[in-house]
Symmetry: C2
Subunit: 335 residues, 2 copies
DNA sequence: TTGAAAGCGCTAACAG
DNA sequence: CTGTTAGCGCTTTCAA
């Protein structure tokens, strides 16, 4: 039934020959453009199917000068990035674009991930929480539209969550539950960390809890959470509530608490950040600050396309409000 | 400094003009091929850098007829797939190939993911635990080399773990700890589920525990684990140990146990499968059957390349031995 | 060591 | 509605 040689895939010309029409007709039919008769259309599609023909996207793009490709640089190990990519696929398709994924792994850095996308002639880049220094990002921007997600930088379009507000939500929630000794485990130099730190401080001040402000160095991983939590528990007056940079780090904190015989939330409340699928695991059931993935990805794709289509205004930062998701790791202060 | 117009990226011709040489020379230099003088090479590289030139991979492959691209179809939500992709990047690069990722999401099925890759003219496909029916996979195979990872099928090259052996390891480990009522929560029709079920049964038989065999319908998610675990606990003689289809499902089981007041491993032992990063979370610390990701991915890439280079032998299945990773969720039977 | 010319598979612009 | 032609950016002959 299938005649295709595994080595040389069928071309448009092969289909045209088999259907007994010109290449142009086949081209039209394959792209679902008007301008071909119903009968012709049928014959072409039949021939294409029999040959197992798939249009060569490279040649197609080379000729049309466009790729309709949005490059996405993301950390495949980051639960939150995975959520973003999932939503980006949908947003891109809704806008008639494809996604080209390029993952950052422990063995593959951002530069490498970006270079690949550039060679694929993506029309814009969407970078998730990039670590690339601002000046390098700015340089990239002169080559093609760059939309940065989940990190604030100058010199590029940015879509990010109002991270400071996120910590306001967390602290206020804990405050209403009667907590006073509320600590923050931060994310160091990670994207968003500075804002969350600031939000924490502001919210504590606003609640009249300035003298209870305590910020401990954390990070993005369970490991970082573990270390920070130990430091907190070793104190004479450990906090009754902890806000943590992200969900992953928060699971490390939970682990230390539970192993140390502390009950959550009876003895200590914990709030994470991201509402990544980690937080939703029944076993973890983490109260957390949700970023609005749906909105952020839609905005990111829309912004990228505006740029592609020539909008030549100043770079803009769009800030999306976060939302508190109350689950099982926060409860009334008992001390 | 940068002259590049954001709209039209510099071409090889631009670089040639700027360096004052022919396109051929630039082509050679960019590919690091011999045949250009040291001084010329320097001038070309300088011009390319100043222009911010990146070779157009589409045009390049269109002309050379090769893409050196391995397409990867994977479930971005699957922790284990993420581990495989990470390792595949390394394996591919070591062999001089690039990866083209195409994710399966709740909103993007395998067919869609595969079609995209075909249009990108990948030279081979590596599919992680594909759900595509065998006949469709066989059809694909007539178009290009297909290597299937983590699922047994006829009609394609397969790299998979000896899943039955994996459950032997798990059951034997539990047996040595004195457990008798060892249950299995399965993965339904998921890739590997049948083998794991069979391995469980065989191992129970081999340990003289045939009359304790109990298989409960599970699945791939926490949710499935939750439901299955409840069913098990509702019995008059609940099992003292449970082997679970995968790590993710096992976390659901753990949750039900802990909420039901059961201590792990004192009251019930649990063994997962995959050793995905989920299992390694300190908070979960799951005893699990590890698949040898490093070996599997190296073999997958190697096999794909053999095919690309023309090896035209019968499809082969390579089975990689699993390994038991003992962590904190298994302990001596106390009943 | 270098350059000129042809053409990969496709789409766009035009002609019939 | 259908066919012809040119050329996207690159690599690959082949000739100088």
């Amino acid at each position: 039934m299938q005649m295709a040689d595994a080595d040389s895939r069928p071309t448009l010309a092969d289909v045209a020959a088999r259907a007994g029409v010109s290449k142009s007709l086949v081209s039209l039919v394959m792209r679902d453009e008007p301008g071909a008769g119903a009968e012709t259309r049928r014959r072409v599609l039949k021939a294409a199917d029999e040959l197992g023909y798939h249009p060569d996207s490279r040649a197609r793009l080379l000729r049309s000068g466009r790729s309709r490709l949005l490059g996405v640089v993301f950390g495949i190990q980051h639960a939150f990035h995975v959520d973003l990519v999932t939503a980006l696929y949908t947003a891109a398709r809704d806008s008639g674009y494809e996604l080209a994924l390029s993952a950052v792994t422990p063995d593959r850095d951002e530069t490498e991930a970006t270079t690949g996308l550039l060679q694929d002639r993506c029309e814009a880049l969407i970078m998730l929480g990039p670590q690339t220094p601002a000046h390098a990002l700015a340089r990239l921007t002169t080559r093609l539209p760059v939309v940065v997600l989940a990190r604030g930088v100058r010199g590029a379009d940015v879509i990010r969550t109002a991270d400071a507000d996120g910590l306001h939500l967390a602290v206020d929630h804990l405050g209403r539950l009667g907590h006073q000794r509320i600590a923050h485990i931060d994310g160091g130099r990670a994207p968003g960390a500075a804002d969350r730190r600031r939000g924490y401080r502001e919210a504590m001040d606003a609640s009249g809890l300035s003298r209870h402000v305590q910020i401990v160095a954390g990070g993005l991983t369970e490991q970082a959470g573990t270390t920070a939590a130990r430091a907190l528990l070793d104190q004479s007056h450990p906090p009754t509530a902890i806000t943590v940079f992200n969900d992953r780090c928060a699971t490390g904190v939970l682990d230390v608490l539970l192993r140390g015989g502390k009950r959550v939330p009876e003895d200590v409340s914990v709030v994470g950040y991201d509402d990544s699928h980690l937080a939703r695991l029944a076993h973890i059931n983490l109260t957390t600050v949700a970023q609005d993935v749906h909105t952020m990805t839609k905005l990111a794709v829309a912004r990228a396309i505006e740029r592609i289509e020539g909008a030549d205004v100043a770079h803009r930062t769009i800030v999306v409000p976060p939302q508190l998701v109350i689950r099982g790791t926060t409860g009334p202060a008992t001390t």
